[in-house]
């Protein structure tokens, strides 16, 4: 089972990780990216750089292994195109005998999809890809380029993060199987908006989604309302919550949702 964790440096990445990497300035980002690429060659991973989304990874060709691939989406591309290309490279890498692929992408606001929800949708799909394929996906963000709330929303859908900002974001939602998502941490009023956006993006992908709360410490009234709101926006979809602790289940009942006609089922 995947778990959320903080990485001190990119040296600690493991197969299946989907890493949020907030790093300024660009020079530092580039230096760390080169080390990440070099490690890939050491472990037998194929490097896939999603380019055209920023100039940071303008790594000299001789600094990357010859088998590396740069997917240059010079224009803003839709989620499906980006993911199809990444999946294709992953399949090719396996055929070529690589251990896995290391996907390195810098996310810039200009090249990001319109709207937070679409951005989260893309990140959740990248997360599913990492979870299913065992690929390592590192998404670099330069905080100076992003507005903080958007970046916080995006960080919430990465189970792994470089750095020691353990307190934020308070929760992380990530793939743990087909149409199954785990939520780790705490969902309170400060994270409720991000949780709602992530849920809406995830629930749009399948008629029924499982939400695993095994490592969710607590959810407050705003968090529960975010869950109910997401369910009500797509009433034909069903959300099955599993693994909720006693306090979460008690709060759900106390909040008046247990007996309500909702497409959310809260289970232990």
């Amino acid at each position: 089972m995947r778990t959320a964790r903080a990485l001190a440096t990119l040296d600690e990445v493991e197969l299946g990780d989907h890493v949020c990497w907030r790093r300024d300035p660009a020079a530092a980002l580039l230096a760390d990216a080169r080390a990440f690429v070099a490690d890939g060659a050491l472990y037998g991973d194929k490097i896939v750089v999603i380019g055209g989304m920023g100039e940071t990874f303008d790594i000299p060709r001789d600094a990357v292994p010859s088998a590396s691939v740069v997917l240059d989406f010079s224009e803003v591309s839709d989620t499906a195109s980006v993911l199809a290309a990444v999946r294709r490279e992953a399949r090719t890498a396996l055929r070529e005998g690589f251990r896995s692929v290391r996907v390195l992408t810098e996310r810039g606001p200009k090249a990001a999809p319109d709207g937070v929800e679409e951005l989260l949708d893309q990140e959740l799909k990248l997360d599913q890809f990492a979870s299913e394929s065992g690929a390592i996906v590192v998404c670099a963000f330069r905080p100076s380029q992003w507005n903080e709330p958007t970046l916080e929303h995006v960080a919430c859908v990465h189970p792994h993060e470089v750095g020691t900002r353990a307190e934020r974001p308070a929760f992380r939602m990530f793939s743990t199987g087909a149409d199954s998502w785990s939520v780790d941490g705490v969902i309170d009023s400060e994270g409720a908006s991000a949780f709602n956006a992530a849920l809406r993006a995830a629930i749009a992908q399948a008629p029924t989604m499982t939400l695993r709360f095994d490592t969710l410490e607590m959810i407050d009234a705003a968090g529960m309302r975010a869950l109910v709101d997401a369910a009500r926006r797509l009433p034909s979809r069903r959300i099955v919550v599993e693994g909720a602790n006693e306090t979460v289940r008690l709060c759900w009942e106390l909040a008046g949702y247990e007996a309500a006609d909702l497409s959310v089922v809260m289970g232990a």
Binding site: D188, E217, L250, A255, A260
Partner: protein, 320 residues
Amino acid sequence: MSVPLTSKTPAGQEPSFRHELYPYRGDTQFLTGTLGFIREALDAGEAIIIAVPADKASLLREELTDEPAVTFVETSKAGANPGRHIAAWTAWMSEQGEGGRPVRGIGETAWRLARNAAHLSELRYNEWLLNRAFARSPAWSMLCPYDAADEDRSALRSVSRCHPLIHQDGQSVRNEGYLSADDYVFDALPDPCDPLQELAYTHGDLSAVRSKVSRCAADAGVPEDRLPKLAVAVTEIATNSIRHGGGRGTLRSWTQDATFLCEFRDAGYISDQLAGRTRPTAEQMGGRGLWLAHQLCDLVEIRSTRDQGTTVRLHMDIPQ
């Protein structure tokens, strides 16, 4: 001067919630007053809910065998926090009053089992709030037996001020000492005990608030299984400060005797005296924060004025 009232609403007068205090001395008086109230209800085809201490319930059960209109409820189910009682009575009365059937309640508060002065004060306030909560519930009436055998006139006076009617000599009389004013006169909150912990909080600090309270509560001896519930309650109250109380607040926590307390102060004002005391519906957008705090903590004290802002104290009992 007290004015005798009949138990029926006079012609032309809007029916209203009847809330009567019944001071009694000894079991015989208890039975005389309560059975009279019950028989009047049975004659009128009303349902009766009885929420009294176990020894008093036994006395009534002996007199009311096989009476389908009478329902005994476990007062312990509502919990020791008086802030949960209005919701409990609402639920009991709703169950028994199905189809618009009038309901009478008999509720005896275990005043002498109050854990401390704060608990006693909240018990009294809850009695007073019942008048507000059920003001528009003409089908309901409640008799509150009060064991006055100890002749503590001061205690009786304090409790009687929360009841608009007094039941005596078989009839209801208007209570001239009833606090009918909009603003209930609260007991002043005592100063915190040393040593106390203090933390100023604003947006982005909810995690720090939880962390601080959890650590202090654990050190004070609050059981581990209750810490997650306290974490939810403090999150809700701190969130209220940030959203409705000027964007910031101050947390203080301390231990007093067998109670861990955390206090939240902010510049907001809670105008609804019943906030957090009625069960929310699934459709309701907000209004769950104080409700959760009442349900998850052993006692919640709220003091709120336009001038001085809001102070909320959450109590968690410490097993001795």
